[in-house]
Amino acid sequence: MKTPFIALDQLDKRYPDHHAVKSINLDIDAGEFIAIMGPSGCGKSTTLRLIAGLDEPTGGEIRIGGDSMRGVPAFQRNTPMVWQSLALFPFLTVAENVAFPLRMQKVGAAERRKRSLEWLDRLGLASMAERNIAQLSGGQRQRVAIARALVTEPSVLLLDEPLSALDAHLRVRMQTELSRLHRELGITFVYVTHAQSEAFALADRIVIMSEGHIQQVGRPQDVYRAPANAFVAEFMGMNNLVRGEVRSTRDGVLDIAGALGDFRVPSATPRPQGSKGDFVIAADRIALKPEADGEGLSGTVLGLEFVGSTQTVFVEIEGGAEFRVQKQQHEIEALNLVPGRKVKLSWNPEHAWLLPQAA
C-alpha cells in the first residue's frame, strides 16, 4: 500500500474552552491539491495550524513523509503557509521578505538574492524587488506571500483563506495562478477556505468539516453529487434535501414515503422497511413545467437569484418545503417564471441520491 505524504491520525485539539478538532483521520497524497472547507469554527484552520506545528495537538499524530511530527517545532517542519493576513514583514523590502526563509537556512547573501529574484520574476514582481510592502497593491502582496512561502522549494504549501481579502476579479486571477503553480511544482497544496467556488475550481479532493469532525472527503463532483450526509448536502447549497421513510425495496430501487409524497430512489443496497430514507436532488437536475402540465410536486415560485450564467429559482412546495432549482436564463424566460407563478417540479429518479445511513 502506498503511504500517504501527509497523514493525520486520530488528530485531536482541545483548547481550554473549545474542542476544535475531534480525532480526525485524513491521508493526503504527495502532489495532491486538497481543500479543507467548512463554516467558520469548524476546525479547518486549526487543522492547518496543527500541520504547520503552530499548535500542539492534544491527541493523535501527524506524519509528513512518513515521519512523526510529534515534538518537531514549527521552524523545523518546512511547511510554509500563506496567511489570510499575509503576515509580510513590513520592515523588510519585497526581496528581503522573499529571502527571509533562505536567511533562516543560512543561505549566503548572493545566493539568497538570486533565488528570491527568480521567484519574484516567476510571479511577475521582478520590478518590485526593492519596494516596501506598503507600496504594493493587494494582489501584489499576495504574490509576495506566495513567493516567500515557495522560495525554499518545500514539498508542501499550506494556504489559510489566502484569497479572501482580495476582490472578486483578482481572486479569480489568483486562482488561475495557484492552479498553474501547483501544476508546475507538483507539490502538495493544502488549502483552507470557506468559499465553495475556490475549492471546486482548484482542488483534486475536498474535505468538508463541521464542528471538529470530517464530514466527507472526496472529489468535488462526488461531494456535490453524492453528499455523505445532510450537513454536506446543505453545505453544498445547491442540493434539495427530502426526508422520508423506506416503504419497500426492489431491484435496486427504494420506495420512499415522506411528507411531500412518494418517491423512487436508486440504492445499491436494500434497506429495511421503516428505516430512514432521506435523499437529495441537485438543483440542476430538476425540471420545471407549467402547473397544468403533467406530474410532479406542485409549487409556487418565491423568487429568483442570479448566479453567473444561470439563475436559482426558489420554489415553495405545497406542504411547506422550499426547493432550489437551477435554470438557464432562456428557460426562465420560456416558462415566464415570476414570483407567484405555479409550477410542477419533477426529476429523473436516477438522479436522486440516497443519503447513506449514519454509521
Binding site: 503552530l54 521552524f75 510554509p80 503557509m81 514583514f89 520592515f91 536567511r103 533562516m104 516596501n132 516567500r148
Partner: protein, 286 residues
C-alpha cells in the same frame, strides 16, 4: 463658513496653537534674545553683543560639563534600553494577562510619584551610614562609597527613566502582530532568533523613542546630579544654576540653555532617523 468641514478642524486646533505660542515659542524666542543681552552691575540690559556666546563656548568649564553631561546621559540611555528591553519582553510575552496588568500598574505608580522623594529614598539606601552599607558591614565588607559618584548618579537617573522606558516598550510589544511571529517560525526562524529578526525590527520606532526619551530626561535632569553626586563634576543643568547664582549672569545661562536645546534637537533628529527602517530610509533617499 465656520461650519464648513475644512474650517472646523482649524478652529478646534486654535487652543493648541495658542498654548504652543504662549508657553513654548515665546519663551524660546526670549531665551535666544537674552543670550545677546548684557549684565551691568547685576542688572540685565537689552543689547546685541556676542560676548556671552564666545565666553561660554570657549570656556573649559562649559566644554567639560558638556562632555560629562553627554557621557552621563548616553550611559543612562544605554543602560535604560538594555535593562528595559528584557524586562518589557518578559512582561509582554511571558507573563499571564493578570500578572502583566499588575506589572504595568507597578510601573505606572513610580512615574506619578515624586521624583524627589524617590531620590531621598536612594540617599538613605546608599549613604555611607545607610542600609546597604549597614548590611555589608555586618558581613565584614565596606563601608563602600556608594553615594556621590558615577554609580549613584546612574541609579538616580535610571530611577527617573527606567519605568517610562519599560512602559514604552511593553505597550509597543503588545502591539506587535502575533501572526508575524508565527509566520517567522513557520518560515524556519527558531524562537530565540525571532527576537532579532521580528521583534526588534518591529520595535525600531519604539526603541528609538525609548532611547531619545531616556536621553532627554537624563540630559536635562537637575535633581540626580545635585543630590546623588553633590554637583561634582557639574552637568550643564547644574552649570546653568551656578551661572545665574554667581553674578546674575542670565545671558550666559541662556547660552548654555540654548546650546542644550540644540543638542537635544540633534539627538531627536537622530532618533527619528534611526526609528525608520532600513527599507523606509532607502525609499526616502531615492
Amino acid at each position: 463658513m465656520a461650519g464648513s468641514p475644512r474650517v472646523l478642524p482649524a478652529v478646534l486646533g486654535i487652543p493648541v496653537v495658542l498654548w504652543q505660542a504662549v508657553f513654548f515659542a515665546a519663551p524660546l524666542i526670549f531665551l535666544v534674545v537674552v543670550t545677546f543681552w548684557q549684565v551691568k552691575s547685576f542688572r540685565l540690559e537689552p543689547a546685541f553683543v556676542l560676548d556671552n556666546w564666545t565666553r561660554i563656548l570657549f570656556s573649559t568649564t562649559f566644554q567639560r560639563a558638556l562632555v560629562h553631561t553627554f557621557t552621563v546621559a548616553g550611559t543612562t540611555t544605554v543602560l535604560a534600553v538594555a535593562i528595559a528591553f528584557p524586562a518589557a519582553y518578559t512582561i509582554a510575552f511571558r507573563l499571564s494577562t493578570r500578572a502583566r496588568d499588575l506589572a504595568v500598574a507597578f510601573l505606572v505608580v513610580p512615574v506619578f510619584s515624586s521624583y524627589m522623594l524617590r531620590i531621598y529614598a536612594w540617599q538613605i539606601v546608599l549613604s555611607p551610614e545607610g542600609i546597604t552599607n549597614a548590611l555589608l558591614g555586618s558581613i565584614g565588607i565596606g563601608p563602600l562609597p556608594l553615594l556621590g559618584g558615577a554609580f549613584s548618579l546612574q541609579v538616580g537617573l535610571l530611577t527617573l527613566t527606567l519605568p517610562i522606558a519599560v512602559l514604552t516598550l511593553v505597550f509597543a510589544m503588545a502591539g506587535i502582530d502575533r501572526t508575524l511571529i508565527e509566520a517567522a517560525e513557520n518560515l524556519g526562524c527558531r524562537r530565540a532568533r525571532v527576537i532579532a529578526h521580528v521583534i526588534i525590527p518591529s520595535l525600531r520606532p519604539a526603541i528609538a523613542l525609548t532611547a531619545t526619551t531616556s536621553f532627554l530626561l537624563a540630559f536635562g535632569d537637575y535633581i540626580s546630579p545635585l543630590f546623588m553626586t553633590g554637583s561634582k563634576p557639574p552637568t550643564l543643568s547644574i552649570l546653568i544654576v551656578d551661572t545665574v547664582k554667581s553674578g546674575s549672569q542670565w545671558p550666559r545661562a541662556s547660552v548654555i540653555g540654548v546650546s542644550m536645546l540644540v543638542m537635544l534637537a540633534l539627538v531627536l533628529g537622530l532618533g527619528q532617523f534611526l526609528s525608520r527602517g532600513r527599507a523606509a530610509r532607502k525609499e526616502a533617499t531615492r
